[in-house]
Structures are given as structure tokens and as C-alpha cells.
Amino acid sequence: MQTLYLAITILALLALVFGAILGYAAIRFKVDGDPIVNQIDNLLPQTQCGQCGHPGCKPYAQAIADGEAINRCPPGGETTIKALADLLGVDAIPLDAEHGTEAIRTIAYIREDECIGCTKCIQACPVDAILGAAKQMHTVITAECTGCDLCLEPCPVDCIDMLPVEVTPVSWHWQQPTNLIATSQAPRSHGASGNE
């Protein structure tokens, strides 16, 4: 009978000590928020366009952290999917066509003499890139515009165009060489390559 009490006491003591250490560790190593969500959010293009079916990039980052597919971001395209796949340790998958296709980067341009100053596009803009007031002409702050297309829909006079981003001396960079590997080169018709 004494062994029984001893056994119970020892086990309880052991459990108590471990519980105390774990309880202390839970406070000491407390994780504020979910750091992985911020890491995912940094990789997303921040267009806030909602094409993924979420109200913005941060909610989509949260959804990815909870296990949603990583291929629902058309503005980010293949580059974003690959970066997400590397971060999360999963395989890169092709862009989900259901949520749109990857297009060249554009920004909005308001044809200012046609604008009637209705402020509807201002309310639609997720990044506050449209400047203007009621009955006043609006214009787009090009540095802020993410090219999300959300202002096209509400405009009653269709005076907004999506123009491709012009290459400036600041944004220009060398074109990536695409056929560095011998097998990816197209067969040459004239045999100009000499002694291969």
C-alpha cells in the first residue's frame, strides 16, 4: 500500500514539475501573432486587387498560412508563386486561371477633360491613389497606383484607361538571357555555329 502512495506521489510530482516548466515556457516563448503571415504578405504584390477572392493581400496571406492554394494571385504571377513555394516548402504550381491571368503591369490614367468629378473611382481605389473632390477633376498618383483595375468598373463615363507602365531610365534593366542552356536554343537553320 505504501508503494502505491509513493508511486502516485512521485508521478504527480514529476507532472507538476514538467507542467510548471511548460507553463513558464509558454510565457517566455510566447509568439505574438503569426510571423509567417507577415512573411507571406511581404511576398505578395500589394495591389489589393481582390482577384484572389479575398479583400486584400493581407487576408490572402492569412488564408495561405491557413492552407489555401498559393496560385491565386494574378498580379504577382509566376514570380510570386515561386517565392511563396520557396518560403513555404511546397511545390510551385501554375497560376489558377479562374482568378485571372498574368498581364503586363499597367497603371490607371484618367482622361481628365472627360472626368465629371463623381468621386466613385476614389471610393473604389484600395490604395488611395486617386486625387480629387466632388465636381472637381480627378487624377491618378502614378507612383501609388498598383494597376488593380478596380476603378474601371464604377466610372460612369468610362474615362479611365489602363496604360502599360512606361520604361524610364530608372526602371529599365537588362533583359534576362533566356537561352543559356544548349538544349533550349532553337535549332539553327544555316549551320552558322561552326564547330559544335
Binding site: L11, L14, A15, F18, K30, V31, I36, G89
Partner: protein, 193 residues
């Protein structure tokens, strides 16, 4: 010194926990489909296994044996292992959220990795001392890691190979695990322990 070396060689190669003693097969099959995950799992298991064998040795020698409560070894070792795993999970979650994400459910599942309990119990059965216990646990973990990483690398190759349809997926993995186990039988007789 030679003894310690022998323990390491014995646990890593000759008496490999996965392929010779068939312990810890669940993570061996479960986490081996990607090399990076396998490496993360190996690291976590190595840490947990070494720490768990140390803690369970201390618990046995200084708590159970003096009171003549050896019959409590299984339940108290499970307690120790669960504690070590929980603690590891908290630390990993804080220090490396990425590793925590990669390991996912497999980190808590180390609790039920039978190699961990197996090492603790075998330590007692073999009457290993303090350093021997740690080395035994560490060697078992290194052996586990070695086999897991080798197998994961093999499965990545198999995934792109032209496998006949009936053998695709888990079937070919089982067969290659069996062949690997046969290969490890070759180490028998390398050291006599």
C-alpha cells in the same frame, strides 16, 4: 573512448533503429517525400531524441530507482518525452517559424515516434551509464536522420522516374524501403555489440 565510438557506430549503422530494429517507421514513410522536410524532421528528431534519452536516464536513476519504482518507467518516460517535445515545439515556434511551418504536424508527432520511447527503454535494459545513454540516443537519432535523408533523396528521384502504374506512389516507396533495409543488413558483423 573506443566504447563510445562503438556505441555510435552500432546505433548509426549496425543496429539502425529504422531499418534494422524497425522503430520510427511512421515519420520514415510520412516525411520522406521531400528532402527539405526530411532534413528539418531529422534535426528536430535528433534534438528531441538526445534530450529525451538524457532526461529519461536522469528520471530513472534519480527518481524511480531510489524509491524502487522501476515498474513506473514506461509511463514516466512517456511523460518525459511529451514534455521535451512540447518544450521543443515552443522554442522552435518562437525561434524559427519557418521550420515550425515546414515540420507542421510532424513536430508534435515526435511524441509518438516509437524510436524515442524505444531508446529510453533500451538504455535502461542495457544498463547504460550517463554518457552512454546520451550517446546511444544521439547515435539512434543520427542513424534515423541518415536513413531519412537518404530515403527522401531516393524518393525525389523515384518521383520523376518512369515507375510502372501499379507500383506508383506508396507501393514503390515500401519496396525501396525494403531494399534499403536489406542493404543495411550488410553492416551486421561490422561491430559486435
Amino acid at each position: 573512448m573506443v566504447d563510445y565510438l562503438l556505441i555510435l557506430v552500432s546505433t548509426v549503422l549496425v543496429n539502425n533503429f529504422v531499418l534494422v530494429q524497425f522503430l520510427g517507421l511512421c515519420p520514415f514513410m510520412g516525411v520522406s517525400s521531400r528532402l527539405e522536410t526530411a532534413m528539418g524532421m531529422s534535426l528536430a528528431t535528433t534534438f528531441v531524441l538526445t534530450l529525451a534519452s538524457l532526461c529519461s536516464y536522469l528520471t530513472y536513476t534519480y527518481l524511480l530507482e531510489p524509491f524502487g519504482l522501476e515498474f513506473l518507467q514506461t509511463i514516466s518516460f512517456i511523460l518525459v518525452i511529451a514534455f521535451v517535445v512540447q518544450f521543443t515545439e515552443m522554442v522552435v515556434h518562437k525561434t524559427s517559424p519557418l521550420l515550425h511551418k515546414v515540420l507542421g504536424i510532424f513536430l508534435p508527432l515526435i511524441t509518438t515516434n516509437c524510436a524515442v520511447l524505444g531508446v529510453a527503454l533500451l538504455n535502461i535494459k542495457k544498463a547504460n551509464g550517463f554518457i552512454e545513454s546520451i550517446l546511444y540516443g544521439f547515435g539512434a537519432a543520427v542513424g534515423f536522420s541518415l536513413v531519412l535523408v537518404l530515403f527522401a533523396a531516393m524518393r525525389e528521384r523515384i518521383a520523376v522516374a518512369d515507375v510502372p502504374a501499379p507500383f506508383k506512389g506508396a507501393a514503390i516507396a515500401m519496396i525501396s524501403a525494403g531494399i534499403m533495409s536489406l542493404a543495411f543488413m550488410g553492416f551486421t558483423g561490422l561491430v559486435a555489440i
